[in-house]
Amino acid sequence: MVTIKEMPREEYIECGHAACAGCGATIGIRHALKALGKDTILVVPACCTSVIQGLYPLNALHLPVLNVAFMTAGASASGVAAGLRYLGKDKEITVMAWAGDGGTYDIGIQALSGAAERKTNFIYTCYNNQAYGNTGLQRSGATPFGAYTTTTPTGKREFPKPMGRIMAEHDIPYVAVICASYPRLVFDTYRKARDIVGTRYIEMLTPCPTGWRFPGSKSIEMGRLAVETGAWIMWEKQGEDWRFLDRSKLIAEGKVARRPLMDYLKPQGQFYTLLRDPAMIEQFERWVDREWDVMKRRVGC
């Protein structure tokens, strides 16, 4: 795994961007873009990153960026990928769609599924802060069970969609589910994905202080708690080979026990309503167990 000092110093997201203080998504994009490098074209639908780029006439992203409509990340990226193939540059230039969870799980899933089914040569990143963050935290298909959002004031009633596995079923060459609190893993994942041809889906949990309601200084810790309690499972699928990653691998192999779920739920304001309902907590815990069973069968360990 890459060491910190080996990580390139070039920054493809400039300081003074418009993200909230402590934003997990900007940690994620910083290291994803470090791994991909200069020859990258970004396609960004409506999401926090649309705003994070800052105000005309400046842009915080030091790359060519095509801002596109909410529903169209997969489709617009398909157009760019086709254009690059026409120019014969599809090997040297990486196309990456960088979308939020709402733009991926909900409004953009059709375009993404179409692009994957067409074997489009691009990386699709879903940076997942588990709600429509840019518009003030409304519920999305990725919002955790029981979580408060402005459209689920008494807690979400459904469990999040297993988007990673849905994309894996699209028979695409690479899928990875990681977390921005592990920047070295993020770097390695994108450096690996960069050199694979075809559709690559990477989903990255990006802790959101404003949305999940915890102090901005705790973003790294909150992402790690999600993984260490097993509420977020990190894995990858390359070809037919499924693998757990990093801390999730240690948990799956029984080398490290899962921390109690409460460690993850308690410090976040978004679970304020959930924490008052033991039955819902129990349902959440059973869901985490089921997720681990499903993933263990997939990985085959």
Binding site: K5, E14, G22, C23, Q53, L55, K218, E221
Partner: protein
């Protein structure tokens, strides 16, 4: 190939923008708390550099972090995650002098 016209913003015919720091202004004004590096305690591990969401930390030639106070938002992730507890937090209003931004080391030829 006609060169891309880098016209002044008001004269541009399309909503094109160019990369630059400070796309949201001097975000350093947002700080309520300010990180201060204790260089004696710092072991040069660069964890702060890695975790900074704003790429506002650069590493100087002694391998120690330099915080760009013009843009640092004071989120304190660096302080929170410093293994050596070498970064302290002080209230912005109590900071000795107004923030003199030490321009970030030139990362690439502009």
């Amino acid at each position: 190939m006609t060169p891309m016209q880098r016209k002044p913003p008001e004269k541009r015919q399309t909503c094109i923008t160019y990369p630059a720091p400070g796309s949201m202004g001097h975000t350093g004004d947002w700080r309520i708390f300010r990180p201060v590096v204790d260089r004696t305690k710092c072991t040069g591990c660069q964890m702060c550099w890695m975790y900074c969401p704003d790429a506002a930390i650069t590493i100087d030639d002694e391998g120690k972090p330099v915080i760009n106070l013009e843009y640092c938002k004071g989120c304190m992730i660096c302080a929170e995650n410093c293994p050596a507890k070498a970064i302290n937090q002080i209230r912005e209003t109590e900071a000795a002098q107004p923030p003199q931004p030490k321009p970030a080391a030139k990362r690439r030829k502009e």
